[in-house]
Symmetry: none
Subunit: 415 residues, 2 copies
């Protein structure tokens, strides 16, 4: 089974890097044995899109087009499919009601132009969109099945998952690809490669890719087999060997982000957390509260950007800041203890550092950070110098802080 | 003048991110006034490539295909062009000599299969490749000009520069493209379209695209003219009319993000800010402190996830929370006043809401948020229902809060 993807929108042709949908869909299809032979990025031009749909239909079993389903005059994918197939475009009364109902429930006025989102190509079946107003649609066109999905990834992805993949899984009976991603925080790419390469070189049938960024390393493994179970078995063996070579360091194999792993551990252990952030400015609080149900463990985040705030909010003594500087191990520890006492939480994490571009000095360079944790009966502080620009220093500091929390929660040695 | 790009190679379809050629060529063409209307990433399949060349030839004045010119059996672009045009493929004796000479000069043995790189489609003119063995070729195919270039960027780019762009510059009349992006926060796509469309429809020479996401709308304009100054003049006029039709709503034309605009205004006016965040969990603090020099205006961020934290940190009366709920206009205002008083800042922004997926009720649905601002001598609170999942609710809430701050700082009516 063979697919061609169309990513539609003049802005995508202007900046091809913006097309994240093709990559996502390609990976989802590979996992169910559907091979992508072509990807087309097309401007909002109905004639062009229609011609490209016709050319794709000659070669592909499956066409998935994303984008161009909005209400405005440059959203032309529906019209293009009608043009390509020579079928009419009909306004579906029940879809009009649904779209209007959505606006009404939100207490908003619906501009009349939104009605065009209810247009279906003759014979097409609507695909509901729980996260937006534009429904999708799918159509059998001779031996080819065509799916139209909206472009915004938060709308497209759940629709792909719920309505496209199950149907295609039926159609493809080919070899199955399974993937596994092992994530390691606060580690360098070459150090991990040195340990892991001898292992994955013994598995030549598995495709391995190493990705590194912001103090994290990801090992991506892809295996093909006759069945998902057989591919999983290969990956299980490989993952077991990597874990044994890097004890305690692999924090996720299921795609979870580090903040999700820490959130799960806190929730499972029934512990509460507060945060005191200086250079990260709320980044760590924002990550942890991104997780649904964060209120079970997250109490308070103090974003103490100024020295006064560190004193007023957390009780850090001004003499300490004056003597050792706000960026020091002692101030990081005082922030953690202050947050833990004032927020009355089991744990507190604190970070202080120089994110740059200003504020560095020979003794305290840009990128210098201290991360502290306070817990019942103890504390710990780690000094580190991050490389890179302001955004990278902040991201690496977040990774270090979350990894310190993970090690505490699992009783692992400090990173 | 209108172009379609083909990026050929099975590895490119497997990882679309790897296709850096399209982005590079698209930018080079835009600069000389050639518009790209489609980009195709295609697997090494001669029939597929031939069909896609034929479809492109119907719509484009220019086709540039990169990749598939190597010597191995999966390099099929030459054959595909012969197939598409119905012309023969002839081995050019002088190209064979050139390719062999290159190997000899490097003191290497040339495998016989390299001879196929000397195959030219009937009527095609070779394009020399100073950095590799695969020559390119170009061909007039009815009214369309087709260029075949090798895939490796270090070979492709100099050939594009030396042999493709000069020819296309002639054809396009050296027209220059300039672009402008107008950003509008806390607005719906269709509402902005309704106001802006009558304006940009009066400028048919300007290509307009509307992008929407997380409570923001972007109007992208691209104009072509004989000179950059002339294109800028067109864009200036168009932007002036849009600003006049949407008074005060366009927050940036220079690519700045909303948090950067708010940060600039605070720094310029010498005002300080504190934040009280519930459902956004530190997201707004993290954005504002992303801006270098944020310590000039940013004092304290309170991430008050629990009701107790709202009381302890900000002095919100527990009876108020009990009577009206933590997600209410009154609590949002009390949070803002509490933050402003305790952090001793000129302004304070506060947000409280239900980010979901849990916590909603018929009277207070998921997505309901209140955003408040407290300033010297006054306050303001806005109720809003956000669409979408937890991440989108949080992102839209951030946009609304920052837009309220921007309106206050510029003396604009509340959004």
């Amino acid at each position: 089974v063979n697919a061609i993807l169309l990513s539609i929108g003049t802005e995508i042709v202007a900046v091809p890097r913006r097309d994240t949908n093709s990559q996502h869909i390609m990976e989802a299809l590979a996992a169910i044995g559907v091979e992508v032979s072509g990807i087309k990025l097309l401007a909002d031009d109905a004639e062009l899109i229609a011609a490209e749909l016709r050319a794709a239909q000659l070669h592909a079993d499956v066409i998935i087009a994303t984008g161009g389903l909005g209400p405005t005059s440059d959203d032309l994918t529906r019209q293009a499919l009608a043009l390509a197939t020579g079928r009419s475009l009909n306004r579906a009364a029940e879809l009009v009601r649904e779209i209007r109902g959505r606006f009404e429930r939100l207490g908003r006025f619906m501009p009349a132009i939104n009605d065009v989102q209810a247009d279906l190509v003759d014979g097409a079946i609507p695909i509901s969109n729980p996260n937006g107003t534009a429904p999708g649609q799918w159509l059998l066109w001779d031996r080819c099945v065509v799916f139209l999905l909206p472009g915004p990834p938060p709308e497209m992805r759940p629709m792909l998952e719920a309505s496209v993949l199950p149907q295609l899984r039926e159609r493809s009976g080919r070899r199955v690809q399974r993937t596994r991603v092992l994530k390691i925080a606060f580690a360098g790419e070459s150090a991990i490669e040195a340990v892991a390469a001898p292992i994955y070189q013994r598995h030549p049938g598995v495709r391995t890719t190493i990705l590194a960024g912001a103090g994290q390393v990801e090992l991506h493994f892809a295996a093909w087999a006759e069945s998902a179970a057989a591919a999983d078995e290969t990956l299980n063996g490989l993952a077991r060997q990597v874990r044994a070579a890097l004890p305690g360091r692999v924090y996720a194999e299921d795609g979870a982000a580090l903040h999700e792993v820490v959130a799960r551990l806190l929730a499972a252990q029934g512990l509460t957390l507060s945060l005191a952030e200086s250079c990260t400015g709320g980044l760590i609080s924002a990550s942890l509260t991104e997780v649904p149900g964060a209120s079970r463990f997250f109490r308070v985040g103090y974003v103490c950007y100024s020295n006064d705030a560190k004193t007023d909010l957390l009780g850090v003594r001004p003499e300490l800041i004056e003597r050792l500087g706000a960026v020091s191990a002692e101030v990081a520890l005082a922030m953690a203890h202050g947050a833990r006492a004032r927020a009355k939480t089991d744990l507190a994490l604190a970070v202080t550092g120089i994110a740059g571009p200003e504020g560095g000095s020979p003794e305290k360079p840009t990128g210098l950070v201290f991360v502290a944790i306070a817990y019942p009966g103890g504390d710990f502080v780690r000094r580190f110098v991050c490389l890179g620009n302001r955004a990278r220093v902040r991201a690496q500091t977040e990774t270090l802080a979350l990894e310190i929390a993970r090690c505490h929660l699992l009783g692992l040695p400090w990173p």
